[in-house]
Each structure stands twice: as C-alpha cells, then as structure tokens.
Subunit: 353 residues, 2 copies
C-alpha cells in the first residue's frame, strides 16, 4: 500500500451495533420498551444495493455484523493499514430522520453512552463522534454539552439527510454548542430520502440505488452553499465542518459558481466579509472516500490543485461499506508533505488528537 | 470581442411577450377568459433577485419588456455580436409548474403559435423552440407533433423545474415525439421550487436567491443521472439533449462518480451498453452561460479538456438576463477549430440549420 512510511488517521470508520438490543440498557422509557420489543425502527430510504451495504469479508469471527467487534476491527483494518487512530462514525445517522424528535434524541444519547462504554474505554486507537439528531436542534445542543467532556469524543456527527438546509438558523444551536467545546461538526450521507427528510434530488426520488448514490453529492453542495451564505462561519468563527463521503471533484465548480454569484448578489448576504470559497478553504474539510476516479489520474490531480487538496482533505476508508476504497494510488502521486497532511496531520490537528 | 472572424449561433435568447394579453387570441376557453381577466398566473418560486432578472439596458425604445421587440433584439444583440441565428428560448418555462395540466398545455400551445406568427415569420435570424409542459407528457408529445413541421421550430424546450426526474418513464412520450421529428430536447432552469415542482435542493428550500441560483446546477446533475440510468438514450438512440444554463464545471465530477458507481452496480441497469459518460458525450450538449470563472482561467481550460468541451459546448448569451455573459475571454484561449465548433458548428449541426 506504500503507506508503511507514514502514520494514518482514518476519519470515517463505521462501527456497528451487534443488535438493537445493545441500546436497551441506555434508553429511558417509553423508548426502552419500544426498542426491546420492536427494534430501532429507523425509517428506510427504500433503495436497494444488490452488493450489500457492508463488505461480506468484514464479518467478525465472533459473530454479529461487520465492524461490530472492536478487536476484530482493530486486526482487520487498523493494524494492516497502519491506522493509528480511527474516528468512529457509527451507523445511526438516521436518528435525524425519525418523525418523533424525542425518540431520535433518546436514541442518539443511548448510542453515545454505548459507544463510550464499549468502544472508547481503554481503546486509544478509537475516537468517537457525538451523534445528534438535528430534528430538535436544542436537544442536539444539550447532547453535545452532555458528552463533550468525555475524553474519547472528538467531534459531532449527524446525517446529511435532513428536513432543511444545514446553514439555516434553526440549526445554529448545534454549531454554537460544538464551537463552545471546540468540536468539529461532521455530516455523513446515506439517510437521504428516509423518514422526515426531503426528496434526495431537486426533482424528487431517483429510480434506483445507483442514481440515489450518485446524487448524494448534490445534497452536500446544497448544505455547503447554505452554511456559507447563511453566515455560519461568521457567526461561529472557530467552527470546522467535515463533509464525510460526499466526493470532492465538484468543489471547483461550486467555489467558482458561488463566488461569481456572490459578486453580483453580495448585498443580500452583508454578513459575509470574504469570498465564499475562502470560507470553504478555512472552515471545511472533506474525506477522501469515495474518491472520483477518472481514467487519467492526472485529471484528478488537476482538481486537487484547484481546491488546495493537501489542506482540506482527510483520509477515510469508510470501512466496512461496499465501496470503501484505499485511494493510495492517487495519493502516491502527491509530494510526501501533502500525503502526510492528508493521511495524518490534517486530522490530528482537526480532532486535537 | 474578437469574434469578427467567425459566425455565431446563440442557443439561449429569451424572447419575451409584451404582455400576457399577447396570448389571448391563441387560447381556447376557459383559458382565454382567465388570461384576459387575470393574466398568466404562473406560480412563483418566491426568491427575489435585487438586480432584477432582466438587464435594465435591454428595454426596447418601442416600449414593453426586454427582448419583446424582434427588431430591437436584432439590433441590440444579433448585429453587434455577429450572431447569424438566435435560438429563442422564451420566458414561459413555468408552464410545467402549473397545477392544472390542461392549462399548462394550453398556454404552451398558445405561446408556440404566438412565437411562430410574431417572431419566426420572415425572420430567418430567429429559430424557435417548441415549448411543452411536462406535467402531462402525452399532451406534450401531441404539441410536439402539432408544431414539428413548422420550418422555424428547431427543438423542444421545457423547464428543468419538474415534479420528477426527467429520465423516468412518464416522460418518455416526450422523447419519442422529439426523436420521431429529429428535434433535440432542451431544458432551462429558473422554475425550481415554483408551483408543483419539488424543493430546489435535496434538503429543501434555500434562504435566498443567491443560494437558490447557485444550487440550480444540482437539479441538472440529478436530471442527467436520471436520463442516463433510466435508459433514455438506449431507448431513443438519435435523441440529443441540451442542458441550457446549468453550468459545466461539475461535469468531470458527475462523469467520474457515475462511471465508478456504474461499474459496481451495472446489474441494476442492464439496458446500458456503454459507460454512462459515453452517453453524455454522445447525446448531451451544454450551453456556455453562465460559465464558471476561476481566478486562474487555466483551471477552466483544464476542465474543458476533461469534458471534451469543443464537442459538447454551445455558445449562449442568455440575453437579456441579469447574469448574461460573453465568455469570449476564456474561449479566445482555445484553438480556432474548437472555438468555431462552440460558437457555430455544434449548434448548426444540432439544430439542422
């Protein structure tokens, strides 16, 4: 893999519950009885991936689903790929899509307690993300306050599938809480079109998983435009935002189009003090997986140049998902200092590791 | 402008009605009385552009709104910019957003008759687009059949703001009719979020015009993915699709992401015989305005290389809209043969001029 020469931090590793029953001890009533009798009941998006969302070869010998055993995950991913630290992103981003905001918030809290006890205690190779449901942003902020002092929790995470664009005002209490504790906020796709979220594209529901998955980047573009224009980074100048698994090759387009429109329409967003693309470069980071793969790798390297990739990219494997990749071939073409930043330094600084 | 040396076809010129009353003579009842008493009543998207949608300096001395006078439009745009032919795209794309499909179809028909009589007769410098409402695709196909033999009508146009993704089956009668008559189908943005359309982004309604306008490209990406994956270009192998005013710098991202996902998920779209990006290159064309403008023009030229720009771009001014531009500076950097294709040859072949 040609990474023996450098340390790695993997910012998107999907630890999994063994089963819904793992959360029962951490839930208050009436949710405890509901989950014990009926499972989590997360809304589905209705799309089917024939390959399966998880790689088949990631199942732990101890039983249970892929990435549900911290020891096997360490052996299967961290050791062979020289990953010093994995930022756990879990598989419950769907809490934001639940119709009842109290239930979504209770599930997130139970999940955070479970991760703290079963994954973070005495395992310095793992760091956790405080899961929140953005449906009730005040409850989300309270959850951040509750978990922020846990030494293993290094960030906040929520699904990108939402009822509204994440720059809008109702979400600001989440960013205020995260900024107060010096925690970056990450979003992760996969819940688009489920439960209370909007349709996955600006013209409704794609026909199949292929179209749905390819379109996920559009939601990232929409959230990013919203975060910039609604002034989130002027209001919370220390906040960092992590866009996990949304792709990167669309960034030149978005920066150029947004900057151009801003020049004409800046009177409508007078709180912005710099070009939109400057906020992106200073406040937003993007994970590498799934990286776009042109036939000619030089084309992706040209995109890297346009977006100052070495300062905004974070290495991620997305283990154990179906399309997890190891973008070593493309990263090998960068100069060593740039590779070191993407594999390690950027994440170490961001998550204060 | 450095284009004195070549002929130009402008594929996106927004001719305008002088007023809603222009359509009254062409409408049947009950729509005739409705428009005569209450105007068109097109649903609005609710966003405000403080600059105004139309440039202030385009108003004809004869009165009426910008681009409502064929003679002044010829003098103001075609003569000074050496435009041999302007493809008229109008300003009634909103017919697709109307709740009553009969009213939308009736307005489109009246508009087409009006354009044929007032713009196309004896004016070879203008060519028309058959406007359709996609709300009732069978009525749209009937309208294409009705107007296709008019010698001045060279294509079909509809708004990109729709109730569903344009590759889905309900829209295929439109493509069948267009292909039968050898007419390309164009879409144009601006109605996203109005009337019966979906929210303009995958997470709902942007806050302001700036975010709304910047996000319009997302809808183009969604439609393009849908057109490819739902097999429109296998089903109608002669069909050409024109993506007006949606931007171009996002194309490398979309081609690479879609091709990569197709490799893993091709079993779900067995009717596709080639890589998705090959369908885009062979069947889709993109207009230049609004062109993305990086600080370093070499970056846009690198994007041009990635998308085979000289064979898929069509020059457009978007006259008289607020952000209409003349991308002469960037096109000047191309070799003369490439410029000739983008300014003229591609459109001449596409529209069979």
């Amino acid at each position: 893999m040609d990474r023996n020469d450098m340390k790695v931090i993997d910012v998107d590793v999907h630890n999994s519950l063994k089963s819904a029953h793992d959360l029962v001890p951490y839930l208050p009533e009436p949710w405890k009885s509901r989950v014990a009798s009926s499972g989590l009941g997360l809304p589905g998006h209705g799309y089917h991936n024939p390959i399966g969302v998880n790689r088949q070869d990631c199942r732990p010998p101890s039983g249970g689903p892929a990435a549900s055993d911290p020891n096997f995950l360490t052996e299967d991913l961290l050791v062979p790929f020289h990953i010093e630290c994995a930022i756990l992103t879990g598989d419950l981003m769907g809490v934001s899509t639940i119709h009842d905001p109290d239930y979504g918030a209770a599930l997130a809290s139970a999940y955070n307690d479970y991760v703290a006890e079963h994954w973070l205690a005495n395992r310095p190779q793992f760091r956790g993300s405080i899961l929140v449901s953005a449906h009730d942003p005040l409850l989300a902020a309270r959850e951040i306050d509750r978990m922020a002092e846990h030494p293993g929790m290094v960030g906040v995470i929520m699904g990108s599938g939402q009822r509204a664009l994440l720059g809008q005002r109702q979400f600001h209490p989440i960013y205020e809480a995260a900024a107060r504790h010096g925690l970056p906020v990450a979003i992760h796709p996969g819940t688009e079109g489920a439960g209370g979220t909007m349709a996955p594209t600006p013209s409704g529901y794609p026909t199949r998983y292929l179209e749905w998955h390819t379109s996920l980047s559009q939601n990232y573009m929409a959230h990013l435009i919203s975060l910039i224009c609604d002034g989130v980074f002027e209001k919370f100048p220390t906040l960092k935002f992590v866009m996990l698994e949304g792709g990167i090759a669309w960034l030149p387009h978005l920066m150029w189009r947004l900057d151009k429109n801003y020049k004409g329409l800046r009177s409508t967003v007078p709180w912005l003090k710099r070009m939109p693309s400057e906020y992106i470069r200073d406040h937003c980071l993007f994970s590498t997986q799934p990286i776009e793969e042109p036939d000619d790798p030089k084309q992706l390297l040209a995109i890297f140049d346009m977006i100052d990739a070495e300062n905004i990219l974070l290495f991620s494997s997305d283990y154990p998902h179906w399309d997890n990749d190891m973008p070593t071939e493309i990263l090998k073409k960068l100069r060593p200092e740039a590779r070191q930043k993407i594999y390690y330094d950027n994440a170490k600084q961001l998550y204060n590791l």
